[in-house]
């Protein structure tokens, strides 16, 4: 087909495509596209932000914190008494010596009524228990103090 440049007319040019595709391309294309679309639809659902869920989480955290506070605080007070009952007297004494607290110091803090109530023992019984001779007692009494008391 001859075309003179001077008389070039686009409308007279046959509308043919110069491009080609591999054999069977349009037979396979729908399957390849479908494979991609089905792969995309099987995606894991996204967890999106929700104002209601955020507020619910905050409320739950606050409730746990309040319950934790009222549950744990009383337990901390009772821990001392409960655990001390399980500790041996020798260990407590050892601890007090280690802390530089002498026997005289803590005896001063003991409430006498508390001791007598808890032991429920008469003075005479105490003396019997101690197995002290009357001579030992007389030696230990400051006679001057006795005279003053009389």
């Amino acid at each position: 087909m001859e075309y003179s440049s001077n008389k070039f007319d686009l409308d007279k040019l046959p509308k043919e495509t110069v491009f080609q595709v591999p054999d069977g391309y349009f037979e396979d294309l729908p399957m390849r596209i479908q494979a991609r679309t089905s792969a995309k639809t099987q995606t894991v659902p996204l967890v999106t932000w929700s104002a209601r869920r955020t507020w619910a989480s905050l409320a739950a955290c606050t409730l746990v914190a309040i319950l934790g506070y009222f549950t744990l605080m009383p337990r901390q007070d009772s821990i001392g008494e409960e655990s001390l009952s399980g500790v041996k007297t020798e260990d407590i004494e050892g601890y007090l010596v280690h802390q530089n607290i002498h026997q005289a110091d803590y005896i001063e803090h003991i409430d006498e009524t508390e001791v007598s109530a808890s032991t429920n023992i008469e003075d005479s019984e105490v003396l019997d228990e101690l197995k002290l001779s009357s001579q030992d007692i007389i030696q230990s009494i400051d006679t001057q103090d006795v005279v003053e008391d009389i």
């Binding site: 075309y3 040019l13 495509t17 110069v18 391309y25 294309l29 596209i33």
Partner: protein, 181 residues
């Protein structure tokens, strides 16, 4: 099956895959050739055609039927082409002439290109046009589309499209005069 029935079937979960398969089979050649004329290379055209239909799959649920299905598909394909060409220019920091040269070389060297010398010359002449003007020319000249439909696809007025096509024809005629051998 007409487009309205295709969309109805697509909107039904049980027949969605079947309807989409029919849609691809119905429009794959139009979409592919529209893209191929713009990007020249078969592999690029293949990627963009698949991408066009995947976007159609995602968006078809929201398709309101305000435009024809085929112009809607052409619009997606057109955007894919223009974005691809713009990215290509940005990625390699190439001026427009070098991209034209690259595409022109593909026309000469590619395995999947053949035809009379005059047709190859026309394709090279088209590469000298701006991308949007080339799009308009392809749709009017090769696909014989109405200006109203092209306006729907490109979002340009009919008057502007007529002017653009007229200008494209003049540039092509000039190219043929300058490259007369």
């Amino acid at each position: 099956m007409n487009d309205h029935e295709l969309i109805e079937k697509f909107n039904h979960p049980d027949s969605r895959n079947y309807a989409f398969n029919l849609l691809v089979r119905k429009y794959q050649q139009k979409v592919y050739w529209h893209i191929r004329k713009m990007v020249i290379d078969h592999d690029d055209a293949d990627d963009l055609t698949q991408e066009t239909f995947i976007k159609a799959w995602r968006g078809l649920e929201n398709f309101k039927g305000e435009s024809q299905l085929y112009t809607w598909l052409y619009r997606i394909a057109t955007n894919e082409c223009l974005n691809f060409l713009a990215k290509k220019k940005r990625r390699f920091f190439l001026p427009i002439n070098d991209i034209t040269e690259e595409l022109s070389n593909k026309i000469e060297s590619a395995d999947l290109v053949s035809g009379e010398q005059i047709q190859l010359k026309l394709q090279k002449a088209l590469l000298t046009l701006p991308d949007k003007q080339r799009l308009v020319f392809n749709m009017k000249y090769f696909d014989d589309m109405k200006y109203e439909d092209i306006a729907d696809i490109t979002g340009t007025s009919v008057g502007a499209l007529k002017a653009s096509y007229h200008l494209a024809v003049k540039k092509i005629e000039l190219y043929f005069e300058e490259h007369d051998n």
